[in-house]
């Protein structure tokens, strides 16, 4: 997992890797939360382009971060999820909590 913070845009970019399940999401959550509290970003981008699998643990990961960021006025973007992951995001109604985008430029809500 790669985490980068851009001070100019107040944007925290989290590049997730591999498979997101209950096992892997615990460590991801701890690392992301540490970065959120360190920077208090305006925008949190989850880059899903290198994620090969996600179950409902990934939904929990996004929902939990939304609960932290939303009271602070921050927003969440989910970038480049694979089709089978998009399907789970839609099933969970994640577009109500986060912007799902195909790249950093095209944003569909």
């Amino acid at each position: 997992m790669q985490i980068q913070y851009d001070t100019e845009t107040a944007c925290l970019l989290v590049g997730l890797d591999g498979e997101i399940d209950h096992h892997s999401s615990n460590a991801m959550r701890a690392e992301v939360d540490a970065a959120i509290y360190a920077h208090l970003p305006q925008t949190l981008i989850f880059d899903f382009s290198r994620v090969s699998f996600m179950d409902s643990s990934g939904i929990g990961l996004i929902m939990g971060r939304y609960k932290i960021l939303s009271p602070l006025g921050g927003e969440i973007l989910v970038q480049d999820p694979a089709p089978h992951i998009s399907r789970i995001l839609r099933l969970a109604g994640m577009e109500r909590l986060a912007k799902i985008c195909r790249s950093t430029k095209e944003v569909t809500q």
């Binding site: 399940d21 096992h23 699998f53 409902s56 929990g60 089709p83 089978h84 789970i88 969970a92």
Partner: protein
């Protein structure tokens, strides 16, 4: 019913084995030539079922999770996940979308909703204090209405 192929295994209720269950399912199902979507769906449902057994069945205590995979005639994939954990006192409530007994762990409460959506049938048999048996069926090669993009 005739069984085309069958696989059984048991492993300890350790979250590292969630990936093992998905890998076993992939290896078992791939010879039946599923589409990428079907394989992704089946990997997701077994991941949800095994995670439920580990997180909710055993709640951090040790125990064993068993899986049985069957390929039945007409390309029906049958998945059974069994635990001898605490059981589910109210199955109907556990199956309600967004209801979770573990909100503090960021569980979304969507496991059963995903399992129901991605399979043709889902059955839960649970006895409090004894454990839970979850069975699912999915026929390959059938385009589901809600799957169409």
């Amino acid at each position: 019913m005739k069984i085309v192929n069958e696989f059984k295994c048991a492993f300890s209720a350790n979250s590292a084995n969630e990936g093992l269950a998905r890998a076993a399912l992939s290896a078992f199902v791939i010879p039946a030539d599923p589409t990428a979507q079907e394989l992704a769906d089946l990997r997701t449902v077994i991941s949800e079922a095994v995670t439920n057994a580990i997180v909710h069945g055993y709640r951090g205590t040790s125990g064993e999770v068993s899986i049985m995979l069957r390929l039945l005639p007409e390309r029906v994939v049958y998945i059974r996940v069994t635990d001898k954990g605490c059981g589910i006192p109210d199955v109907a409530r556990a199956m309600e979308p967004l209801w979770t007994s573990a909100p503090e762990e960021d569980r979304a409460g969507l496991g059963f909703a995903i399992m129901q959506t991605f399979t043709d049938s889902l059955h839960v048999r649970s006895v409090p204090g004894k454990g839970t048996v979850l069975t699912m069926r999915r026929r390959l090669g059938v385009q589901d209405a809600n799957e169409a993009e």
